[in-house]
């Protein structure tokens, strides 16, 4: 019961807070005080109270997509092992998780094309291109963990009871790096996309949601916040598994550290975004190649460890 409570609180509060932390750290880097950390929550409440405007060209896809996407992400939060305190024991199969993420992408892309705006089309086209390059990296990182553990159920892989994985510090670390790099691209963060840009022509994620407003936009934003937490959560879990101490620690310590891990990665993102610039579109495949290389290292380790 306590577990369920902690889980529900963290899945509602952590997404906006993570984004709040990223914005706060970026503001401090720019010598500004910045908005309070709870500003994303206030933004969402504000959006809920606005009146909605939609394009006259849209079909049923446009509004239902945002409802479907947030439900998919809520389902995913129960399936992905992004914390150590998971209330329900639903088997989180890794291929299922990847394809549920793809499902939400499918709806996002269709909703972006729905209004028939040039920007939505640009964004959608770039989103699928990036996804295409990142997908093999994500799946191979997770598959090599699963292959070492001998199961495709991620809940079991991340359960801290699988002895086959206990000594694999390197594998966990590299998988964490690979997933983190991939999630920078999946979440449309800095080297791939600038979330604070003002120029529609260069945007990826923001271009896709130009037509959304009010409640609809609030749902889309919330979906994106949850996605940030889930993807950062899974890579921070990989890093935490690389620390031998975590395998001995108590449940409470693990839980607190996994929350802290997400916030730490969020701070890392903010630091990266303050220090680096957005890459040119044509240079992106080279950046993603790092994530793919990490995943190939993971595969090699997994193959060598299971030698018979």
């Amino acid at each position: 019961m306590l577990k369920l409570g902690a889980f529900l609180v963290s899945i509602t509060l952590m997404p906006p807070l993570t984004v709040g932390i990223i914005r706060k750290v970026k503001a401090r880097f720019q010598n500004r005080i910045g908005a309070p950390i709870i500003q994303p929550i206030l933004d969402i409440i504000k959006l809920m109270h606005k009146s909605e405007t939609i394009s006259k060209h849209v079909s049923w896809i446009f509004r239902s997509a945002s409802a479907i996407n947030i439900s998919v992400l809520i389902l995913l939060s129960f399936l992905i092992p992004w914390t150590t305190f998971h209330p329900l024991n639903i088997p989180g199969d890794l291929f299922f998780i990847i394809y549920l993420l793809a499902l939400s992408r499918f709806f996002t892309v269709l909703a972006a094309l729905d209004a028939g705006s040039a920007f939505g089309g640009f964004g959608a086209s770039r989103e699928v291109t990036l996804a295409l390059l990142v997908e093999p990296a994500v799946i191979l990182c997770l598959v090599s963990l699963g292959s070492t553990a001998g199961t495709s159920n991620l809940t079991e892989v991340f359960a801290f009871n699988n002895l086959a994985l206990k000594t694999h510090t390197g594998l966990w670390f590299i998988a964490g790096c690979g997933l983190f790099l991939a999630s920078l691209v999946e979440l449309s963060r800095m080297p791939a996309d600038d979330p604070t840009t003002h120029l529609e022509l260069t945007m990826v994620h923001e271009a896709m949601i130009l037509e959304n407003s009010a409640t609809n936009l609030a749902l889309v934003e919330m979906t994106h916040f949850i996605k940030i937490v889930l993807l950062l959560g899974i890579s921070s879990q990989c890093f935490l598994h690389a620390i031998p101490y975590m395998w001995r620690a108590s449940d409470l310590t693990r839980g607190l550290l996994s929350v802290a891990g997400v916030f730490a990665l969020a701070t890392t993102i903010a630091v990266i975004e303050s220090l680096s610039v957005k890459l040119r579109w044509t240079k992106l495949p080279e950046f993603i190649a790092y994530a793919v290389a990490m995943s190939i290292f993971c595969v090699l380790i997994a193959l060598s460890r299971n030698m018979h």
Partner: protein, 668 residues
């Protein structure tokens, strides 16, 4: 023969007789003045289809072979039929696709001008159905080849329906060429096997010894050509695009499955363990899946797009078959069970959703008279039912949960995943990992491809007057064509949400093919149906509670245009621009070229005219096949010089030949 066998045999025979009756009616209508209504033919097709479904369902769980002979002797062997558990899923698929296409057929034939054209269409359809059905149930090689030929030739006839157009002629010719080569290879392989086993019966053939290797390879190549695997897929986009809509649903959903059936029946059931066949199947399957989806993505014609995506799916099925053979080779029954279930389930699923999408394309073509994506757009409002069907089909083919496509693709993933840590040589485990990586890549590409197809054709604004005036017919009510799509869409979702139950139904097939008595429903542990239900409740409650209150007070306005005023539909993303970023990454394979010319006095700052032209020429067609064809025509032209027409020169040839033969006789 017990009563169930008797019932199944009767039902199968009845289905054939019904279709044969339809064929005879078209002949009668040809010679007399009787006009037959479209609905009557459609009814006959459907009756046969439903009979076949009944027979397949009845006989699904029975493993024993049963069959009968029609003629005591048909040339070299009797024309005998048999049915076993392996034919069950295929006949079931055939029944469903036939029934739904039958609903759609009148929509095509009502547009035909003369009685003869209509009769010809139905005549070919009935021949196609008879040929396909009998290919599935034929018990020996001779019977199979005869039925296979009937099927291929009637398909070629359907492709040439619109034979006045140059494109249809070319398509029919390339289809015939491909099926000729395939039949030649299969015939050679069958004769080889008859020589080894002394029988034409499929049951008597085993591919364990190395003597059968050439036969197995020839069967595999024949199957690969017929299924449209790389590099012999080039005829597929042409022929699928030219055949009439409902016929394409049959051809893509059904005819391509006959080759998969043959592969399962002979190579997998015949215990072929040759690494040559296994790795050839794996390599060709993988290349086809990547190649097919890549070309589907950049394709501008919606039916050609679907055809290329068939190449991808045939590749996936072949990758699954390779896994089944590989795991049987290493003695891993668990993985073999997953692979075989995945292959059969994906074959059935692909038949269903590809027919669904093809009918959707037929519906679009009928309503707008174009298949070019650049001419479509905004059809979601004008054609809501087609949109719904195409949307579900697109989701299923991209393997999105909770559709059936996900369940079968998951099994193939899972099979390779388990191979990656099984007790097999390192090379095979590395291959398994590589396959998973490529499948993920193919999955992301197919998502891009179908997001493009749905997004460009149905969403946004109309890009042409034809698309603006598109009409499904029947003013919003269901027509035969849309009803057929909805039925298939519902089947796709039901098969997906109740995947475990469906797989339980596959257990006899599994036991037959792998000898494993595992319950396939335990192979798919994801509670897809329950999660889908939870997701649906969640999504609809969010829609009603969060978005719902605003629905009344919603403002509609023009799409964001940066304040320039309403932009025309030309400002929208087009199909080619959507796929351009991906096309640029794979420019080498796609031979994609973009030429930009800017004209004007001060060209840099005040251009008067900007022209951008993209060119794409498929690699194989231009580089390999075109050159081979050029070589052949060059050789033929050169050879004509030998035929001078002068009697003296020809006498010289005769003399030289005689001399050569005499010398040959002396030396041997």
């Amino acid at each position: 023969m017990n009563s169930i066998h008797f019932t199944v045999t009767t039902l199968y025979t009845a289905a054939c007789l019904v279709w044969a009756f339809g064929f005879v009616i078209t002949l009668i209508s040809d010679v007399t003045k009787i006009q037959i209504k479209d609905k009557f033919f459609s009814f006959i097709m459907m009756a046969g289809g439903i009979t076949a479904i009944a027979g397949a369902v009845k006989g699904f769980c029975y493993k024993e072979l049963f069959g009968y002979q029609i003629f005591p002797n048909f040339g070299l062997a009797p024309l005998s039929c048999q049915s076993d558990t392996l034919t069950g899923p295929f006949i079931l698929l055939m029944g469903v696709i036939t029934t739904t296409s039958a609903l759609a057929c009148p929509s095509y034939t009502s547009g035909l001008a003369t009685k003869n054209e209509r009769n010809l269409f139905y005549k070919l359809i009935f021949l196609l159905l008879l040929g396909t059905f009998l290919s599935f149930v034929s018990a020996n090689a001779i019977a199979f080849l005869v039925c296979f030929e009937v099927m291929s030739l009637s398909t070629a006839g359907l492709i040439a329906s619109d034979h006045i157009r140059h494109r249809a002629q070319r398509a029919a010719f390339s289809y015939i060429t491909a099926s000729r080569v395939a039949t030649a290879l299969l015939t050679a392989a069958f004769l080889w096997m008859q020589h080894i086993s002394g029988s034409f019966n499929f049951d008597a053939w085993h591919f364990e010894s190395s003597r059968t290797l050439p036969a197995a390879l020839m069967i595999f190549i024949g199957v690969a050509i017929k299924a449209g695997l790389w590099p012999t897929h080039v005829y597929l986009p042409q022929s699928y695009a030219e055949a009439p809509g409902p016929a394409t649903a049959l051809i893509s959903g059904l005819v391509s499955k006959v080759s998969i059936y043959l592969m399962l029946r002979l190579i997998v059931l015949g215990d072929c363990h040759s690494p040559y066949v296994i790795y050839a199947a794996l390599a060709l399957g993988l290349i086809s899946s990547v190649w097919g989806v890549l070309f589907a993505l950049v394709e501008r014609d919606i039916k050609r797009l679907l055809a290329y995506s068939s190449v991808e799916n045939m590749g996936l099925i072949m990758v699954g078959i390779a896994l089944a053979m590989l795991s049987k080779h290493y003695g891993l029954p668990g993985i073999a069970a997953i692979a075989v279930t995945g292959v059969i389930f994906h074959t059935v699923n692909h038949g269903l959703f590809k027919s669904l999408l093809m009918l959707g394309a037929a519906s679009i073509e009928k309503a707008t008279h174009t298949r070019e994506l650049s001419q479509l757009g905004g059809l979601a409002r004008r054609m809501p039912w087609t949109m719904l069907g195409f949307f579900v089909g697109g989701m299923a083919i991209c393997a999105m949960p909770p559709t059936n496509g996900f369940a079968s693709k998951w099994l193939i993933y899972q099979g390779y995943f388990q191979l990656s840590f099984a007790q097999v040589p390192l090379v095979d485990r590395a291959i398994a990992m590589a396959v998973i990586g490529s499948l993920a890549f193919v999955g992301a590409l197919s998502l891009a491809c179908y997001a493009k197809a749905i997004g460009i054709a149905f969403l946004g604004r109309a890009r042409s007057t034809a698309a603006k005036a598109a009409d499904e017919g029947a003013s919003g009510k269901l027509t035969g064509l849309t009803l057929a799509q909805l039925i298939l869409a519902v089947i796709c979702i039901i098969l997906g949400t109740s995947a475990s139950v469906c797989m339980h139904g596959l257990s006899p097939v599994l036991a037959y093919l792998t000898g494993s008595y595992a319950d396939p429903s335990s192979l798919f542990p994801i509670p897809q149906g329950q999660l889908c239900l939870v997701g649906l409740i969640l999504a609809s409650s969010i829609y009603i509670l969060v978005l719902g209150p605003k629905t009344q007070s919603i403002n509609t306005y023009i799409t964001w245009d940066c304040g320039y005023g309403p932009l025309s539909a030309r400002a929208e993303e087009t199909g080619s621009s959507f796929s351009h970023p991906i096309g640029r990454i794979f420019a080498q394979i796609l031979q994609l070229d973009m030429v930009t010319t800017i004209d004007g006095k001060d060209r840099r700052h005040f251009p008067e005219q900007i022209r951008v032209e993209t060119k794409m020429s498929p690699y194989l067609e231009t580089r390999a096949y075109r050159r081979t064809l050029d070589l052949i025509s060059w050789l033929s032209l050169t050879m004509t010089r030998l035929q001078t027409g002068s009697i003296h020169v020809h006498l010289l040839y005769v003399f030289l030949t005689m001399l050569f033969l005499v010398l040959l006789g002396i030396t041997l």
